[in-house]
């Protein structure tokens, strides 16, 4: 039994193996992009939104609302980043209901890549918001002794993001596969439904945590805010 879709190689392009993780990621990308293009292709201000456009607006505005509740400085770039994280993960997880689907988030490579993206995005957003000096200064707060702990904490956050998502998705898929062999009719359905719920929750947690990390990096400390106000 293969625990990760990385091991399933479909074909090779210029010596580069296209495994199930990459292929199904492309499928998710195609679905998301294609649906977005289809729904928003005839978008005009004078045309009332149809049902699908309303669904998309609701999704986007809900994500934006969540980010606004968390972040002290709402930024559209944060919406692009965190929203894409959520949509990619939730789509990958929800498509597990399709027979034969290998969720890319069931691959530690994918979750590591997403965690790496968050790990890189946090300093980028922090430097972009507060400046490089202020951002680097946050690593020696409250004093310089905390520097290694802050660095370790930064990496451990990314690691926990990757492991949490991978473990939940992979375990759900493995449990469903095992139950399918033991009791083919009832339990796999229940577990798949539970897997859908878990997938949505994990996507939400991953995106929210990424937003929290980035928001904490972009947040101005209280002492600095007080100085700016005075």
């Amino acid at each position: 039994m293969e625990l990760t879709p990385d091991d399933t190689v479909f074909f090779t392009v210029f010596g580069f193996a296209i495994n199930a993780t990459i292929l199904f990621t492309w499928i998710v990308m195609a679905i998301l992009t294609g649906a977005s293009i289809l729904i928003t292709r005839n978008l005009r201000p004078d045309v009332p939104p149809n049902r699908w456009r309303t669904v998309l607006e609701t999704i986007v505005l809900t994500i934006q609302g969540q980010i606004d509740e968390i972040s002290a400085r709402p930024d559209r770039r944060l919406l692009y980043f965190a929203g894409t994280l959520f949509l990619f993960i939730v789509t990958s997880n929800l498509l597990m209901i399709v027979p034969g689907w290998r969720s890319p988030t069931g691959s530690l490579s994918t979750t590591a890549a997403l965690a790496l993206a968050v790990l890189v995005a946090v300093p980028l957003f922090g430097v972009g918001s507060r400046g490089i000096g202020a951002y680097l200064h946050s690593y020696i707060e409250p004093n310089v002794i905390m520097l290694p702990f802050n660095i370790i904490g930064e990496f451990s956050r990314g690691l926990s993001l990757a492991i949490r998502l991978y473990g939940n998705v992979m375990s759900g898929a493995v449990i469903a596969a095992i139950l399918l062999g033991v009791a083919p009719f009832f339990f796999p359905v229940v577990m798949d439904m539970l897997g859908l719920l878990t997938g949505v929750i994990q996507a939400y947690i991953f995106a929210i945590l990424a937003t929290v990390y980035i928001s904490s990096a972009t947040a101005v400390p209280d002492s600095v805010s007080a100085k700016e106000l005075t």
């Binding site: 977005s36 293009i37 928003t40 894409t84």
Partner: protein
């Protein structure tokens, strides 16, 4: 559990590409559409606010116009009432004046009617009195009224001669006035009596149909009369007194 770093790199690139794709085809169109719709809604709200303000201004103007019309109506009503009151007073005054004129005319007419009635009564009374006297004289003594009047006047004339001379002065023209022509015999008696009492006096006879039956003698500024005028006046007084008592009885 292993990590394929090539796959990690590929997934990282895939994720970044997906971020770009969704930004290009999902977030921007949706957010731009929402922004455009909100801008349009804001514009419509601003227009609605403008329309509301315009409507409120129109409403205020309408209310002011209504108040003005109401005030004009009240003023016109008050003016009409004042004019009606003035017209009523004028009509009442005119009616009272007309009634007063009519009452005065009626009183004049009534007075004239009373006067004419009195004259008729006077004439009829005199005629009746004279007729009764004539008839009584004729039936009882076979004499006429004129004869008795002339006889009575001539019997009184000598006693009054002194007074007549003093009143006549130098005048020696005597005028005897009767209602009807006197018989020649009576004229001769009068001539003799006057000549006896007032020698040298010429007598002239005048007929006056408006005079009461009887005889009137005028000599210069003096005048003597023996007519039934006074009796008729007495009869009139009696009748007026009787009529007054009758009216008092009717009034009670």
């Amino acid at each position: 559990m292993s990590i394929d770093w090539i796959t990690v790199a590929a997934q990282l690139v895939n994720f970044l590409v997906l971020v770009w794709l969704l930004k290009r085809f999902l977030y921007r169109p949706i957010l731009d559409g929402i922004d455009a719709r909100e801008a349009r809604i804001s514009e419509r709200m601003a227009q609605a606010e403008q329309v509301r303000k315009t409507a409120e201004a129109a409403g205020a103007e309408c209310r002011a116009e209504t108040e003005r019309l109401k005030a004009a109506r009240d003023e016109a009503l008050q003016q009409a009432r004042a004019e009606a009151a003035a017209e009523r007073d004028a009509l009442l005054m005119e009616t009272r004046e007309r009634l007063r004129h009519e009452r005065e005319a009626s009183e004049v007419e009534r007075a004239e009617e009373a006067r004419r009635y009195t004259d008729r009564l006077h004439r009829h009374g005199a005629a009746a009195l004279v007729s009764l006297t004539r008839k009584a004289l004729d039936d009882l003594s076979g004499e006429t009224l004129e004869e008795r009047i002339v006889a009575r006047a001539l019997s009184r004339l000598p006693g009054m001669a002194g007074d007549l001379k003093a009143a006549a002065g130098d005048s020696r023209d005597a005028v005897v006035t009767t209602r009807e022509p006197l018989p020649d015999e009576l004229c001769a008696q009068i001539d003799r009596a006057i000549d006896g009492a007032l020698p040298g006096t010429k007598v002239r006879y005048v007929i006056d149909e408006t005079q009461s039956p009887g005889l009137s003698l005028r000599l210069g500024g003096a005048q003597l009369g023996w007519t039934v005028e006074g009796y008729v006046d007495g009869l009139q007084a009696i009748l007026d007194d009787a009529a007054g008592q009758r009216r008092q009885t009717d009034a009670r």
